[in-house]
Amino acid sequence: MKAICWTGIDRVSVETVDDPAILNDQDVILKVRLSAACGSDLHLLDGYIPTMRAGDVLGHEFIGEVVEVGAAVTKHKVGDRVVVGSFIACGRCWYCRTGQYSLCDNGNPNPGIPEALWGQSPGGCFGYSHALGGYAGSHAEYVRVPFADVGAFTVPDDVSDERAVFASDAVPTGWTGADLGGVQPGDVVAVWGAGAVGQMAARAAILMGAERVVVIDRFEDRLGQVVTHVGAETIDYSTSEVIPTLKEMTGGRGPDVCIEAVGMEAHRNRVDGVYDYVKQQLRMQTGRPTAVREAIEACRKGGSVFVLGVFGGVVDKFPLGALMNKGLRFSGAQQHGQRYIPMLLERMQRGEIVSEHLATHVLPLDEASHGYEIFKHKRDGCVRPVFRP
């Protein structure tokens, strides 16, 4: 079959690879209908996530049709249209049972690598390095879905592929940030990053009853989407100073919940951003936490800061003093999709969550290089290139 493979820094290629096979009786095989590129892929492309191997098939946000079913699968049959959470989780360990699916104990066949990096191993992920299991991704004609009864969800007929595909990753990620960040009715919530993840975090906060939600970015087209499709306010950090603006908006308090949806390659809009860039290039830190720092500074005393952006290792000049002296709650997570996807599909069905506008470019697999190029440089209004095999 045809697939989009990572071949090195800034390089992808479309190659012919083996078809996936059922490896155990809890798997299904999907014929991929749509597979979206995610901001996380950009960290792979830019070489900031170790343990990628040339030839790895990319992609972890997808919808497809079941074409083969393992003997122990009970929820799915051939022909079902399903969306699949990007993290691979067993559904039966203590973490899964408590709704923390991305922390699954049994989803990652290579636990020694993340244990060496982080002390413990999270679950596995499609197409996302050998530290997260070395599974093939979904930018391909077919994909194997392990633990299919846990990770795959039938999509209601009246939800389009273009909307439902984002129930795989961007939408549950946003929901994870707002939910675990502790958004309460009446809160003011600030979100850094107007990519798919930031937009969906803002939408989640609105649906949870936040009184004001504001998204921070510098790209006019993305900020425009925030206003039109998400219903949140915006701050363009290229023309406004973020912290004073947020203070003014909140009567001098600062937002109750600050969600960071930028990740390890934050744009250097502040002096510390230049410092971060140089240190990251010299591999003296593995991420640029510019937006995380700003979120911590902006947050109200006793508020909550939640990191959705992906980081791989260590960062520098972390404002521990602000965190401690302001009494902040600080946490982060890879998304716990399986916990939220059924509810999110219902909200998609009711039109409470709209996401198809994120699929700005629907392309064949053959246009992988072009798709990633415009996504990386945010050209041509690209928010997510979505591949249709």
Binding site: L23, P109, G112, P146, R283
Partner: protein, 153 residues
């Protein structure tokens, strides 16, 4: 620029690989293991917590195959994990047995997975594009193939 960045990546990835390798080497060196399990725990114990009661862990008095295969050479202790977390399985090689910490880690992890899910998950054989046999890639494959026996368990 491209070359520099490629090198940067290799350094970062090699760094990660080195961390893994150093930890393995440190434990594998003869004489550094203090106890019969030759692990980091001074007495050589390693442990996993399984979301199951002790009975389900040892149906009919026999452990699941990954652990049963080593059981003759091991001391195994089961303990309630507290709260709603199931059962802790602690194991180490008996005094006088040649300790194989990698095998013990694999056995504990696979036992846990089998009891909890009925299977041991795997990604291989995985569809992939061209993989040139570079030294870096070969090193990474070697680490990956041993990853379940490595780590901090």
């Amino acid at each position: 620029m491209a070359t520099k960045r490629t090198m940067g990546m290799s350094v970062a990835a090699a760094g990660a690989a080195a961390v893994v390798a150093v930890r393995v080497a440190r434990r594998g060196r003869p004489g550094t293991g203090h106890g019969p399990g030759a692990g980091r725990d001074p007495d050589g114990w390693k442990a996993v917590t399984v979301l199951a009661d002790a009975e389900a862990l040892r149906p009919g008095g026999r452990y699941p195959e990954p652990l049963a295969a080593l059981a003759d050479r091991l001391e195994i202790a089961l303990r309630p994990a507290g709260r709603d977390r199931g059962t802790e399985v602690h194991a180490r090689f008996r005094p006088g047995e040649h300790p194989d910490p990698e095998a013990l880690r694999v056995a504990l992890r696979d036992t846990k997975s089998l009891v909890e899910t009925g299977i041991v998950q795997r990604a291989d054989p995985v569809p992939h594009g061209v993989r040139k046999p570079t030294p870096f890639g070969i090193g990474q494959d070697a680490i990956e193939s041993r990853s379940k026996g490595m780590g901090l368990l």
